[in-house]
Symmetry: C2
Subunit: 218 residues, 2 copies
Amino acid sequence: MELSRTERTRHRRLRDQGRSDRAALVEVLRAGFVCHLGVVVDGTPMVVPTVYGFDDDFLYFHGSVASRSLAGGQTVCVTVTHVDGLVLARSVFEHGVNYRSAMVYGPPRALSGADKLAALRVLTEHAAPGQWDYARRPSAKELAATVIFALSLDEASVKVAEGPPGDGDGPDASLGLWAGVVPLETVCRPPSPDPALPAGIGVPAHIAALARTPLFTK
Amino acid sequence: MELSRTERTRHRRLRDQGRSDRAALVEVLRAGFVCHLGVVVDGTPMVVPTVYGFDDDFLYFHGSVASRSLAGGQTVCVTVTHVDGLVLARSVFEHGVNYRSAMVYGPPRALSGADKLAALRVLTEHAAPGQWDYARRPSAKELAATVIFALSLDEASVKVAEGPPGDGDGPDASLGLWAGVVPLETVCRPPSPDPALPAGIGVPAHIAALARTPLFTK
């Protein structure tokens, strides 16, 4: 499935490799659970990190910090980025970053009732599969105090930069300098129990499994 | 040194712990090299990842993708976020993320000449200390093709969320559920040489050292 091509999501630059299929978008969204939400407040951009989840049609995000700004139905930009490596070239000019990034544009819709509960389940299961059935689910009062927005995945773009530096076959190759990539990876460490936890409550299998899933790796 | 308190950088929410000292800002900026830059384009926010560096007074960022939008001197928001852990509570409502985040607001200034070269050195040395003296420095033509902005660090805010979930001493503690934090960490892997590299060019000490520095860890 092709992603939409709008003026905002058209790829302009050479080095960044634009992807235009839905599968590439899903791959980037699957690999993290914190996005950067951009909204306009009094004419000025504000970029805040927040948690997200997604399904076939929508990205869902926690919107408490932005709820006042989003009441008017303004278009937002949600960006998810994974930094995969530092690209060290022979010349400073060719230095760069290997990354995967997705941008989703649109007017988000505040959810309520059963839709909000379903979205909260998606958010929770995205970050920690199995946790929705394990933890105590939200009460009516807690749900009312939770702000969740849905953003259509229709207008999105994906950029991926990967591979070695680009000056390996140019004149700088004769400089005799080392060049390559320092890969970066985000990893889960073993679960750290709440100090308030009574003895005898072990780590559930679905949480122990987090460190072994490919969620946070390329 | 205290950070400024403006309407934009005042901390409003309870769970997020606002910090107001310059040392906290420096600590967050030191721990990464990719920020999310928020600009307004035709009334709509755009959030793009880009590389940054900083000194005592300014944050410097690569601005090619945003250069047209920034020509008018508009105020931007640059956000740097480190995700430190997934907070798994007894209740879904108390779930959250441990993170460190810095937001810097202001009108960036496009650099030229010696200022641009100095900022590019700061950017390069921030991501890979030692690389400025090792790699070939930019030619006049390359420097002209590079877009670097300086953003004052005067208007900034820092938020840090850390520690175990908050429901360890509430009624949900009696549910007998496991609760705690799954720590996340971004690590450097061993340098991957450019396949075009001739035999006999070893990894320089300053690049091998990247994997051992605390730059990308808490």
